[in-house]
């Protein structure tokens, strides 16, 4: 049986040059669909990856209840202190909690493209760096505590104008020079400026914090302990989550939107490609009806003939998917994109390519199925007689 299938499929391909252009319809169609699908999904993948990187599951974030994100959250000093007293937070050798409140201030900035927008300045407390093992200075130096200095993330430096070491950020109380560049593994923090929290708050006359970040105590159950303590406190109205969960929730709506659009667009195109594939395979069967009939007359079974048709469709589609993936990868992998305050790279992952291949296979199967049935059911005698 397998030998028959192989033989017929081989014959198919020998005659393929006669059907070159119609076969290219499938290849081009698939290439277009997969290229578009993967390119659009690479946005989601890159976005989600950068968001997820920022979320260390061993780190907890506490923000006010009922707000959409850290930016909109507001916590008083008293509230922050209550939060940092809660159980489940790791303590340093000297007994201090590895936790701090942080503040976020928006500041106007201009992108390198000339567009005016806002970026975030985050105020680090004394534990800011300790809370983030992924943090490292890659140029210049860290700002001195209490000093009017800032450092910029690598991605932020790439995206925004005036972010070189030595450039100054203007706040109400004067100029703040940039003294260093940091990296945090490519996560979204790299799109922000960092400064000393208390100095920053004084400069913009802020009295409330945005959030509290804490390193969870080792061992299971620390997160639940912290969460229960905080939600059980009637004086507090906060949400406590792992940092990873926070970013999941935060990025989910956007990720879903991107993915939904990608799949809708990809789906529509796949449908178009499907009709194209059907057309090509019907024509292929029709063009070779005499050949097929001859094979059947010789003794080849109907099933091998049918399978060979589907196989041809699959192989053509796969070559298209390969080309499409290559196009998507070449054009978009690693290209930087800024989505509002989030700066990240588009990622064409092996997973995406696999998805593309799966789609191509699905379309090819559907596109080859009906024609293959027609090939199998071809009335042998009529086909042999036809001119």
């Amino acid at each position: 049986m397998l030998r028959q299938i192989a033989a017929v499929t081989l014959l198919n391909f020998k005659s393929l040059p006669n059907r070159l252009w119609p076969s290219l319809v499938i290849v081009v169609g698939m290439a277009c669909v997969i290229a578009v699908l993967i390119s659009m999904l690479s946005l989601t993948t890159g976005y989600v990856e950068s968001e997820m990187k920022a979320g260390d599951p061993g780190r907890a974030i506490v923000i006010a209840d009922g707000v959409e994100n850290e930016n909109a959250s507001s916590l008083t000093r008293d509230q922050a202190n209550m939060i940092m007293d809660a159980p489940g937070i790791k303590k340093d050798a000297d007994g201090s909690v590895v936790a701090e409140s942080e503040v976020m201030v928006g500041a106007p900035v201009t992108r390198k493209t000339g567009i005016r927008t806002y970026l975030l300045i985050r105020g680090f407390g004394s534990k800011g760096v300790e809370l983030r093992p992924e943090f490292k200075i890659i140029a210049g130096r860290m700002f001195h505590p209490g000093a009017q200095e800032m450092i910029i993330g690598k991605a932020g430096q790439d995206q925004f104008a005036g972010m070189a070491i030595g450039d100054k950020i203007i706040l109400p109380n004067g100029q703040w020079p940039i003294v260093g560049v940091f990296s945090t593994n490519g996560d979204i923090l790299e799109g922000e400026l960092l400064a000393d929290r208390d100095t920053l708050m004084a400069a913009v006359k802020r009295t409330a914090f945005n959030s509290v970040l804490a390193r969870l105590a080792p061992g299971p159950g620390a997160m639940e302990l912290l969460k229960n303590a905080l939600t059980g406190n009637p004086a507090l109205s906060v949400i406590a989550e792992r940092h990873s969960t926070y970013y999941e929730h935060f990025s989910a709506p956007n990720a879903i939107l991107f993915s939904a659009v990608a799949y809708v667009v990809g789906g529509i195109m796949a449908l178009g490609a499907l009709f194209g594939a059907l057309n090509t395979m019907y024509a292929a069967v029709s063009a070779r009806s005499r050949e097929i009939a001859t094979l059947r007359a010789i003794g080849f079974g109907a099933l091998p003939v049918a399978v060979s048709v589907v196989t041809e469709s699959l192989l053509l589609a796969l070559s298209g998917a390969l080309i499409g993936s290559a196009i998507a990868w070449l054009l978009f992998n690693g290209s930087q994109k800024a989505y509002f305050n989030n700066v990240f790279d588009l990622k064409v992952t092996p997973g995406l390519i696999g998805l593309g291949f799966a789609w191509a296979l699905a379309v090819a199967l559907l596109g080859g199925l009906l024609p293959s049935i027609r090939a199998a059911r071809l009335p042998i005698v009529d086909a042999l007689r036809a001119t």
């Binding site: 319809v25 290229a35 578009v36 209840d65 927008t117 709506p253 009709f275 989505y339």
Partner: protein, 386 residues
């Protein structure tokens, strides 16, 4: 046209091929319509925004003093100023964040440009402190109509009396505006200010500032920021153009993405239709030769081929655009209230014309090589089977 039966008969030679081609073209044009329509709607939002307007906010976040209003009015070129503040609330379920904009009822004109309220309705809002106007989408989402009570809750304390509940009354349902394409609710700023905690009173979230012209708006923006630069709350004023450009760039590059996707779809089916025509013509070479013997000129035979290509393209384009119109109408209803959303595709006459043009281009491009081959047809050879 008297040649129509000829073309029609040629089309239906292989019914399967015709139907599949038609379906494929329809799908490609559905995509085209959705993409180009979406781009048109985004451009529309930008285009309809008044360019002689600017938005003033606190430079480093936070509220602005209400007192700034009179000072801004004194800046040269400024004609009107509207203050506004947001109320972060939800309706019944915490997930139902309602977008309520509290607008200064004494001078709503600058913001009014983004809304669909009539003068009379703004006046009504000024007179009814606890009144709100609800846009169509929001009304549908929450089942609201004129006269209904509309209770909104906030998670933090937002009232001087320590409460979190706001009892609004729906004064009317207004059509959705292009700018707030996901729905909006507008209320009375004075009501917010006299009810909120004392410490927060006398502040706004920002100002919308109208100037005499776009250039004036730009200079006024700089003047405003310069005026407040050394004050307790410095400002950052962005012109409408700046804001539109930032929004366009900060998201996805819509014109680029939509064009590339639409283009990919068209390219895909171009291959299909081109191939279909080429095949169809190849099969009928003796027929074309015969037509030439009857006296059909080269041009005549080529015209037949083009018309044959054009019919499925135009028909498919029409079907595809019709489907995309249906889809466009459904888009606002596809998004749950708290999702980031996109404006519905705007199927303007420009979009429709563009679809028509591309349908013709695809038809032409698919038919051109086969048609040229027919032109160079060696009739004698074709008839003798050479």
């Amino acid at each position: 046209m008297k040649y129509f039966p000829l073309v029609w008969a040629a089309l239906w030679r292989k019914p399967t091929r015709l139907i599949l081609t038609l379906l494929s073209v329809s799908v490609a044009f559905t995509l085209f319509g959705v993409m180009i329509g979406f781009n048109a709607s985004v451009q529309n939002v930008i285009a309809l925004s008044p360019m002689n307007r600017a938005g003033t906010g606190a430079r480093f976040g936070g509220p602005l003093p209400y007192a700034y209003k009179d000072q801004i009015l004194k800046i040269p070129g400024v004609t009107k100023v509207t203050g506004f503040a947001g109320l972060p609330g939800y309706y019944r379920d915490k997930k139902n964040n309602v977008p309520i904009l509290m607008v200064d009822p004494d001078a709503p004109d600058v913001i009014a440009l983004d809304f669909t309220l009539t003068q009379a309705q703004w006046a009504q809002l000024a007179q009814t402190r606890d009144g709100v106007f609800v846009s169509q989408l929001e009304a549908q989402r929450y089942g609201l109509k004129t006269g209904d009570q509309f209770p909104v809750l906030t998670t933090a304390v937002t009232r001087q009396d320590g409460g979190k509940a706001w009892a609004f009354k729906v004064l009317g349902v207004v059509p959705d505006s292009t700018y707030f394409f996901n729905g909006i609710i507008v209320g009375n700023y004075k009501f917010l200010d006299e009810t909120r905690p004392l410490a927060q009173r006398g502040t706004v979230g920002g100002y919308q500032v109208l100037s005499t012209s776009e250039d004036r708006a730009e200079s006024a923006a700089k003047d405003i920021d310069a005026h407040f630069a050394n004050s307790a709350t410095p400002t950052n004023t962005m012109t409408q153009r700046d804001a539109s450009e930032a929004a366009a760039e900060a998201g996805i590059n819509v014109p680029f993405v939509t064009s590339v996707v639409a283009g990919a779809g068209l390219f895909m089916i171009l291959f299909l239709t081109g191939n279909g025509i080429a095949q169809s013509v190849r099969e009928r070479i003796p027929e074309f030769a015969m037509l030439k013997t009857l006296g059909f000129s080269d041009a005549g035979v080529m015209a037949l081929v083009f018309v044959e290509a054009a019919i499925p393209c135009l028909l498919g384009a029409a079907i595809g655009i019709a489907v995309s119109k249906l889809f466009a109408a459904q888009v606002p209803h596809l998004f749950p209230p708290n999702m980031p959303t996109v404006p519905a595709p705007y199927m303007s006459p420009a979009v429709l014309s563009l679809a028509f043009v591309f349908a013709v281009i695809v038809a032409f491009a698919s038919a051109v090589i086969p048609a040229l081959r027919i032109r160079r047809l060696d009739v004698a050879a074709a008839l003798t089977g050479r």
